[in-house]
Structures are given as structure tokens and as C-alpha cells.
Assembly symmetry: C2
């Protein structure tokens, strides 16, 4: 149903009925170690390139989610998925063997939000019984793509984030599961002119602010209607900016804001600076932590808001700014 | 409505109510010169990089389509759009000023098909009055991205295609317009092991074949139920392969097949080898030629099938194959 200008309210309340999170060694050494479904200590995932490693991780995550939902691969009507690499090669080569009709998405680190929004719309429209949604990132493939190859050993400023090696896959269906998707607000591109690819949090916070403000207006809610407002990967720098920007708009999220990038690592012990980032950060946290707390009714309603920084090596090298985008998903505890 | 395993049948028949095609000088010198809305002789589109040129082209195309539909930019609920460049920078920087909530897509040269499918689903589900759909490519930004910078002056084999400098933007709504979208079949990734980035037609033809076969089965139709079956950018090499592969599956499209990539240039005079390619090839041909023939009832029903080759410079350099994907859209003449 139409609700407000850019939000969706799902009347049939599509449900998350299967999840799987697969992460790397560093994520497995963090504070949420016990929550992930699979921790792989080999950064190559048994392959010979970083990109193939990310593909292998996606395949494992999607296969795990299908098993968790207790359905067959052929039951899935569409897969909405993406990653950070140019031309989505982690996804294309990762899911090829599963032969599910594919809708490739790119929203930088906001991809899991985009994917859940479109997947929920597909189920809600009556066009599918089961749909899959997935996003991934890999520290080494992302650093090679966006900044420096690891072998170069460059130093990282404290504002930089650490790309999570992780994938999260979700199966949506119509029966009771981990959580219901009851609404969504689609992001707009917001550009305040940040040009520092080592400070993604600052680039993405204005987009998160814009989406949250539009969301609250569209749904006529305030931040305390949510147990948590969970951004994807703003990190400690972006978190401060977001809370500040929202205060100026009249919204206080200082008591119930959480950022997946801050939670996934122990920043001090693990030397991850501002926190984790990447599509795989919010995607793996969704599957490992968020939907489980909703299922256990520790939380009843959260706003899940993956945040993306829109840059490429080319746009960065050509001196372009780094605009941001954020898509918001309303997740609620399942019915009794 | 559900129809078959991977197809959609749109019950409300979303309508293409505004279009705009913007192309470069070479496309403007081709046989369809008179059909395009805008021909720009400056390959830089007044900017200082190829990527910004492509962004400028997207902005012009979308603005033109909005004007053609006689609506306001703020009437558009969502924009589904993409391009060929890493991290979709042509799109991100192209549409930023229009401030329409954005769902970024990547399907290589199949993106216009993916975009129309998701846009039509959104309208059909009752979640939007107006939705926009767009894809672009630029010869110089694509060659720089995927093969060689133009300054290198490399030679091109006859199997290679010429990336179209072009963008096509479409506004979907509910009132009568150029054409109705009555169905869609979402593509699967098909990989027959082609490893030659200079022979995209061969890489994409098996995916086109797979989608057409699934489409005909899902809708219980045969190729002659369509006035034309229009692939995106198989070129002359891919066309032969597709017709051959479909014959083996029991379908004959030899009399009503058309390929946008073959039509857009005069191959002999313009030295474009196997034909045109790129997201912008099928997108600009859709807006300039296909919907107009449907509106004039020269054609009554066509299958529009943009075809994509899933490779990146990284996957190619690492010796990976080039899988293909193709999304099919059923376009029909408008009601009286």
C-alpha cells in the first residue's frame, strides 16, 4: 500500500523464514562470535582469488538460508542480491550454480536494505511464495577494489572503517518466522560534498538522516516507536554525525541507536578504528543478531537502515564527492 | 499474478506514458537518426570526463521522459536505474539532482529489462502512480572500464560490438500511453564457458535462449504470438547462435527476430563490426523505435529482451568465463 511519498507499508507482512550468516576469521574473533552461523578461518574460502572467495561465501550463505527455511532451492522464485565489486562479480559467480532467476542490485553498503525492500514488495504483491535476498563484502576484495591492495600495507586513519568479510542471506515467505517486514522507506542520494574515501561514516550519515526523517513523517512515528534504530556501517564517526543531524531535525535517537559496524568488532582490541563496514556488515548482523532478538521478543520493532557510500575508484580518482544513500526497513517480532 | 515459475503477468497492465532517448554522434549518423529525441555531437556532453558525460546523458534522458509524460519530477515515486560502470557511478551522479528515491540495478546490458520488470511490478502492486526506469552506456566510459582506453588505439576483432553512447528513460503509469507491459520473465545466469570479452554476442545468446524458452512455456505461447522478438545487443554473431540454439529447443524465431545492436548502426558504413551493445543500446532503441511502433499499431505485441554479459575487468583478468543473463518484457499496443 502507498504510505507517504517514498515509503511502503506491507499489508501481508512478508516474513523472514530462513537466515544464514557467514563471516571471516576477524569477525569470528569479535564480540558476536557465538552468533554467526559459519566462521571461515581461511580468507580465500578455499579458492585462489579474493573475488572467488567472496563468491564462495555468498553461495554458502544462500545455501544455508535455504536449508534454514526448510525449502528447496527451486521453490525460490527470485533472488535479489548484490555486492560491492564492480559489475557485481561476487554475486554473479557466487549464485550461478543455484539457477534462481536473479535481479542484481547495487546500493553500495545499503544493498541489503534495497534487497529486503524489493523482496518484501514482491511477496506482498502476491507474485511469489518465496524470495531470497542477499548481500556480501570481503575485506580483501573491497580494499583491492576501492583503496589499496593489502600487500601495499598502507596506513589507515582513525576515521576509516574495516570492510567486514561477511555475507547474509534471507529467505522471505508468508508463514511465521524470525520477523515480519511491515514497511520500508526507499533512500534518496544525499551529497554534502564529503570527498574522503577514508571517512565513509561522514559521507553516509546525512543520507541516513534524510531517510529516517522521511520515514518518521511517512509513518507518523517517532524514534521511540522503535526498540532500536539500527544503521548499517556508520561507525563511531558517522554515529555522532547522525545523532547530531537528527537532533537538528527534532528527532532524538541517542538512546536507541545502534550501528552494526560498531557492534561487530571490539574496536580497541581488534584495531578496526571507526568500526566495520561493507554490505556484508549489516547483512550478516541482520541474520546473526537482529532477527534473533526479534524472534525472542527482546525487541518488538526495529528500523533496519543499511547505509551506502556511492563511490567508485574512478569517481574518487576524478575528484568527485562521495554521496550517500540509505534504505530503511521496518522489522517486527513474529505473530504468536 | 504468478504465472509459471519465473514469469510475471501484470493484471493492471502498467503503461509506458513517457519516453526519452539521448544518443551520441555516431548513433545519430546511423539509420535511425530521425528516431532519437536528442543527438549530442559532443562526446563529453559538456563535461570534463567520460563518466560525467554519461551522467549528463542520463539526466537529460530522465528529464526528457518526465517532460514527455507531462508530470512533475516529484510525482515519481521510485527510480529503477543502472549503467555498466563499476558501482553505477553514471547513475548515482546523473540522477542526484532530481532527488527521486533510487533503487540501483546492475544487470550488465540487460539492465533495461530488469528495470522495466521491477518498475512494472511496483505499479502493478498498487504501490505507485508513477515510476521511472532508465539505463545508459557510453562508448568511451565503457571501453575504458572493460577493455582499453581509447587513446591506446587497439584493434577490434569482427566479433566485437561497439558500445552505444545512449540513454533511454521511461515513465510508467496507469493511463494510456505508448505501450502496455503485460508480462515479464526474469533471467537466470547461463554460462557456457565463453571467455572472450571481444565476443559478447556468443556469451549472451545462451542466456537469451534460456529466457525465451522459459517465457514461451510459462505463458504457453510460441514465437509467432509476437510480431517481433527483440534482443538487446547480441549483434550479428550472437543472432546466429540464438536462432540456432532456439531451433534445437523447437522454437523458430528466424522470421521475427530483431536485434537492437544490429539495427542501431549501419555496420558496413560505420565500421561497427558485429553491431551495437551496452545498456544504452536496448534502452535508447526501446524509447526511440519500439514503443513508437507499438503506439502506431505497426506492431501489436513484442518480446523485448535486453541481454547482459556478466564480466568485470577483474573477473576477465582472472580468467573467469563471461556468463550471460537476459530479462524478457512483453510489450503490447495501448488500448484504444
Amino acid at each position: 500500500m502507498q504510505q507517504g511519498k517514498s515509503s511502503l507499508k506491507f499489508t501481508t507482512e512478508p516474513s523472514i523464514i530462513g537466515v544464514c550468516s557467514v563471516v571471516g576469521k576477524k569477525e569470528g574473533e569479535g564480540p558476536l562470535s557465538a552468533s554467526f552461523d559459519q566462521i571461515e578461518n581461511d580468507p580465500m574460502f578455499g579458492t585462489d582469488t579474493w573475488e572467488k572467495a567472496e563468491s564462495a561465501m555468498q553461495k554458502r550463505a544462500l545455501s544455508g538460508a535455504i536449508k534454514d527455511a526448510n525449502i528447496k532451492t527451486s521453490d525460490i522464485r527470485y533472488l535479489y542480491a548484490g555486492d560491492l565489486l564492480g559489475q557485481l562479480i561476487a554475486t554473479s559467480f557466487g549464485v550461478i550454480d543455484l539457477q534462481i532467476p536473479l535481479l542484481g542490485l547495487y546500493g553500495a553498503c545499503s544493498t541489503m536494505g534495497e534487497s529486503l525492500c524489493l523482496s518484501a514488495l514482491c511477496i506482498d504483491s502476491g507474485n511469489a511464495d518465496y524470495v531470497a535476498s542477499m548481500a556480501s563484502s570481503h575485506y580483501a576484495s573491497a580494499e583491492k577494489q576501492f583503496r589499496f591492495p593489502l600487500d601495499y600495507g598502507n596506513q589507515r586513519p582513525y576515521s576509516s572503517t574495516w570492510t567486514v568479510t561477511g555475507a547474509g542471506a534471507v529467505i522471505l515467505g508468508k508463514r511465521n518466522g524470525y520477523a515480519k517486514i511491515t514497511g520500508a522507506t526507499v533512500g534518496k542520494i544525499v551529497d554534502l560534498g564529503v570527498q574522503d574515501s577514508m571517512n565513509m561514516g561522514a559521507a553516509m550519515a546525512p543520507a541516513a538522516c534524510d531517510t529516517i526523517v522521511r520515514h518518521m513523517k511517512d509513518f507518523d512515528r517517532n524514534p521511540l516507536d522503535y526498540d532500536k534504530i539500527i544503521t548499517g556501517d556508520l561507525g563511531s564517526v558517522g554515529k555522532k554525525i547522525l545523532i547530531h543531524l537528527l537532533k537538528e531535525e527534532g528527532y532524538d535517537i541517542s538512546t536507541n541507536h545502534m550501528d552494526c559496524g560498531i557492534e561487530i568488532y571490539d574496536g580497541e582490541k581488534q584495531d578496526t578504528h571507526a568500526g566495520g563496514s561493507g554490505c556484508g556488515c549489516s547483512a550478516s548482523m541482520l541474520c546473526a543478531v537482529i532477527v534473533k532478538k526479534l524472534k525472542q521478543k527482546e525487541w518488538h520493532r526495529v528500523l533496519f537502515l543499511p547505509t551506502g557510500a556511492l563511490l567508485s575508484p574512478t569517481s574518487f580518482n576524478e575528484g568527485q564527492s562521495v554521496p550517500g544513500i540509505a534504505h530503511a526497513i521496518v522489522l517486527e517480532s513474529p505473530n504468536e
